[in-house]
């Protein structure tokens, strides 16, 4: 037999060695070597090598299946140990898990919000080809402000003129009283083109999208409204009666649409053909090029590019709009177009529409809040894990002594922190689902559990669990298992240095919480200021009722009859009417005097307006029934006089520049500057007049606030006598005003709750940290007690350590809070001052909180019998 041993080739041999199960590493390689010799001897070098190569390949499947099996067994073991450890320390685990869970809940909710915002209008087929027509009036708008209101007649014109346009969809609206059987309500009806369902992807629960709007008398309604009017009946084919003003028409239900998705800017409850508007409103509505009221959406052909259309728009404007405009605006010409058009991508319209209200900024700010909270919670989590680990040195030492190798120990701690994170995530999601209705209320959205449980979210969730789990477990896993078991058991390692890290983290948490608290305080104060400020007119006890007529004469009749009937009720003080309620007002009304021209806000009113809203003239007189020429009279406010530098207002003539000279409006009275718009804006120039031409939409009634419910009933009965066919829709001005600030309200609520969250988490963090700090020093405290120290002394000892921490936290957060609050308040013309008092109060509160936490921990520990403390080792 050949005695010389042939060495198997290094690389292949190394590979096969890797694939041998752990328990047999020593002997297994010997087996392969032995066989190698034999084959070498029998068949030669190359066959031996081939054999070895083959072995490598064939060993792989066995290796894989064994690994998986082992991992599952090990996994189960680690999870079990992890779970036992968690249960062993219920308080710590509870604090840690709930802290992180809360942080996760907040982040989840906010992420849902942001996702929803960013996904608006993305569900339409071919959405890259869908656009809305943006309109800019250079005279009144800033150069980049494009609104969405177009004339109805422009829709077909665009389709004819531009080959790029495949379909044009108009989306007008009008209110009508809808009737079926006993049910009768005032609803908003949408008017659109035949191809609506071809262009937009709205699902129909019943009916065929291709034909739903082929008939002029077809109507499509949503499931919700189908139920409202038809209950359980099948609505398809049935008749709905719609009454617009005094014009009635029957429509046949041709389709039922699914309820509107929560990310659509295009919303409807009832949909009919726009051609009906000629009857329901007027011929003017569908032919007038000057009436810019409703959006128009375009679907471009596949190969067309929006840029080429944008370039051609000026020509279009010249062809169609300039001729129409020059009839009443002589400045309109080819060189000076009265209107500029531009295509807006359908994915952008949500942020465009909400930009005015700062919604894209909202998104950014919300994400910052989510990030803050999550940061606080994660820091907490890691902090507490670290603090807890330092208590377990003895345990680690024992485990090492009993034979655990370092890798196993590391894996154990990682699995522990991952399991905790997993539980937190699960809790966080459940919490988020529970809080969804409340959050929807706060954020003005309709988010559902379905939005939450998308595959993307779930994947992100799992990823987060692993990242946070491994990160927070890293400290104990890596650092602490590195120590030699002997040293640990002898208690040489006290983990002194880590306290600094812990303290910094807690200070950071507190700083963030204090920051949020300060912002919340000032935002809240601003809100209450705005709601509470005297508006300058009598907003309490002022009720507005929708007239719902379309013709001036009809409106005036309603007013007259109402006034007559109301006279018999003493609690109804004054009745008047206006074109619009407070907070709005037709802006951009140009006036001209000898001195110059100005754009003002205009209110069209009826007699007794000022009496009704409770504003007294500074000088001059109110509109009077007796004086016929009062139809050309106006009342202005101080601001207008100041800006135009008019010294003697009474009798001054002014007019609309398009009417030309002589100006036929005369100033008969002056009112003080009252807040007819929101407090966000400075009080601007305003005129009130009774010029005919457009209508009065709302009755204004001032009532005695003593007996509101009864008076409301009276109002309703008066209404029923005058307008039995129309629903009684009313609201209180004070409510309307509060609603103006709904954005702020929402904001404030979110900030408020977030702050509570953040503070709670920081509190838990501080509590956890301090209780560890105290328990770590049980022995020390025991000794001190034996030596005669009183609980108070021990208390002072700990307080000294942490006072600095809280003061530092305050110091960091104050400047940041100050700048942020100032930034926010810039948006409001009428705003509160940033008083230092609140900073001091917050600081004091934070110190108080810290003292409380310390007291609780110290009392719990220091009251133990020193003998017991010294005995625990």
């Amino acid at each position: 037999m050949n005695k010389s041993t042939k060495n198997p080739p290094g690389l292949l041999f190394w590979m096969i060695e890797q694939l041998i199960p752990e328990q047999l590493t020593e002997t297994g390689s010997g087996d392969y070597a032995e066989l190698y010799q034999i084959i070498y001897a029998e068949r030669g070098k190359w066959r031996a090598k081939v054999w070895l190569l083959l072995q490598v390949f064939r060993a792989v499947p066995y290796y894989i299946s064994e690994s998986i099996l082992w991992s599952t067994i090990l996994f189960r073991n680690y999870v079990l140990t992890a779970w036992r450890n968690i249960v062993r320390n219920k308080i710590y685990s509870f604090i840690n898990i709930s802290g992180l869970a809360i942080g996760l809940t907040a982040s989840i909710l906010i992420l849902l919000f942001v996702n929803n915002e960013l996904s608006f209008n993305n569900f339409h087929k071919d959405e890259e080809r869908l656009f809305r027509v943006g309109v800019n009036f250079p005279k009144w708008d800033g150069p980049d402000e494009y609104g969405k209101s177009c004339p109805v007649v422009m829709g077909p014109a665009l389709r004819e003129y531009f080959p790029e346009v495949e379909s044009s969809i108009r989306f007008a609206s009008q209110y009508a009283v809808v009737r079926h059987g006993e049910k009768r309500f005032s609803e908003r009806i949408r008017f659109t083109d035949k191809e609506f369902f071809d262009v937009f992807s709205f699902d129909l629960a019943a009916g065929d999208p291709a034909t739903a709007l082929s008939d002029l008398s077809s109507i499509v309604l949503t499931e919700q409204y189908a139920e409202k009017y038809f209950g359980d009946e099948n609505p398809t084919g049935k008749t709905l009666s719609l009454t617009f003003g005094d014009k009635q028409r029957d429509f046949t239900v041709s389709g039922i649409a699914r309820n509107m998705p929560n990310n659509s800017s295009i919303l409807f409850n009832f949909l009919v053909r726009v051609e009906n508007m000629e009857f329901t409103y007027s011929k003017e509505a569908v032919t007038n090029w000057g009436d810019f009221s409703y959006p128009i959406y375009l679907k471009l052909n596949e190969n067309s590019r929006p840029e080429s259309m944008n370039k051609k728009f000026p020509e279009f404007v010249t062809t169609y709009i300039v001729p129409a405009f020059s009839k009443w605006d002589e400045s309109a010409s080819v060189e000076n177009p009265p209107v500029k058009l531009q295509l807006q991508k359908i994915r952008d319209i949500h942020s465009i529409d909400n930009a005015m209200r700062g919604s894209s900024r909202t998104t950014f700010l919300l994400m910052s809040i989510a990030f803050f909270i999550l940061a606080i919670a994660s820091i907490n989590f890691m902090n507490l894990s670290i603090a807890r680990s330092s208590q377990r040195f003895t345990e680690f030492g024992m485990r090492r002594v009993l034979g655990a190798n370092r890798k196993q120990l590391m894996r154990q701690f990682w699995s522990e922190s991952t399991v905790m994170t997993g539980i937190s995530m699960f809790t966080g999601i459940i919490l988020a689902i529970l809080l969804l209705p409340l959050f929807n209320e706060l954020a003005g959205k309709r988010l559902t559990t379905a939005d939450l449980l998308t595959p993307l979210f779930i994947a992100e969730g799992i990823l987060t669990i692993f990242i946070v789990g491994i990160l927070s477990g890293s400290y104990p896993a890596i650092v602490m298992t590195a120590f030699k078991p002997v040293e640990v058991l002898k208690n040489r390692i006290a983990g002194r240095g880590k306290t600094k890290l812990n303290k910094t983290l807690v200070a950071l948490q507190f700083a963030l919480s204090i920051f949020m608290l300060l912002v919340a305080i000032f935002v809240g104060r601003q809100l209450y200021f705005m709601i509470g400020t005297d508006t300058g007119y009598n907003k309490d006890g002022l009720v507005t009722i929708n007239i719902q007529e379309y013709e001036t004469e009809a409106e005036a009749k309603v007013l007259e009859r109402f006034k007559t009937l109301a006279a018999s009720y003493p609690d109804i003080e004054n009745v008047s009417a206006a074109s619009v309620t407070f907070g709005a007002g037709r802006s951009g009304y140009p006036i001209q005097t000898e001195e110059g021209s100005l754009t003002v806000i205009q209110y069209k009113v009826a007699h007794d307006y000022l009496k009704t809203i409770g504003v007294e003239l500074i000088t001059g007189r109110d509109f009077s029934r007796e004086i016929a020429s009062d139809s050309n009279a106006v009342i202005v406010n101080e601001s207008l006089l100041n800006i135009m530098k008019i010294e003697n207002p009474l009798g001054k003539q002014l007019g609309n520049p398009s009417d030309g000279y002589p100006y036929h409006l005369t100033i008969i009275g002056v009112v003080p500057d009252y807040h007819f718009l929101s407090l966000k804006r400075e009080i601007g120039p305003m005129i009130i007049h009774m010029v005919p031409g457009w209508g009065l939409n709302r009755l204004l009634v001032s009532i005695n606030t003593g007996n509101i419910s009864e008076t409301l009933i009276n109002l309703e009965s008066i209404w029923k006598e005058i307008q039995p066919d129309k629903p009684f829709t009313y609201s209180f001005i004070s409510d309307d005003l509060a609603r103006q600030y709904s954005v702020e309200r929402r904001w404030f609520n979110i900030v408020q709750y977030s702050t509570i969250f953040a503070f709670l988490i920081a509190l838990m963090g501080m509590y956890g940290l301090i209780s560890f700090a105290v328990t770590r020093r049980i022995k020390e405290i025991g000794i001190r007690k034996v030596l005669g120290a009183r609980v108070l002394n021990i208390y002072n000892l700990i307080v000294k350590e942490y006072v600095v921490l809280v003061l530092a936290a305050n110091l960091i957060s104050w400047p940041a809070a100050y700048f942020t609050v100032r930034q926010i308040l810039q948006n409001y013309h009428y705003r509160i001052d940033i008083e230092p008092l609140y900073f001091i109060i917050t600081g004091a509160v934070s110190i108080l909180v810290m003292l409380l936490v310390i007291s609780y921990s110290v009392v719990k520990t220091a009251n133990r019998n020193p003998a017991d403390s010294l005995r625990t080792e």
Binding site: L24, G28, G30
Partner: protein
Amino acid sequence: MKIISRVEELIMLSIWRLGEEAYTVPIMEEANRHTGSKWILSGIFIPLNRLEKKGLIASELGDPTPERGGKRKRFYKITDEGFAALKEVRDVEKSMWDGLSDIPA
């Protein structure tokens, strides 16, 4: 006691047959001789581990030899529990096959 698998049974029987010289390589060759299928070392390692973990076989390290690149051998023998398990398998098989007619040719 758990019923051992076919593979485990065959390996244990190979160990039994080999007596003193029962280490991985001869076990593999013995099994190959009887079953005709090509067992490979990887396929032996794992069942050997499992059996040892279950306590049905026991092992001892031998001396290193030069052909094995200086590595030792691991010698296996069947434990009492192992024999009990084999007996159980045989009893189960007997009772299962009992009364069944012959396999059709």
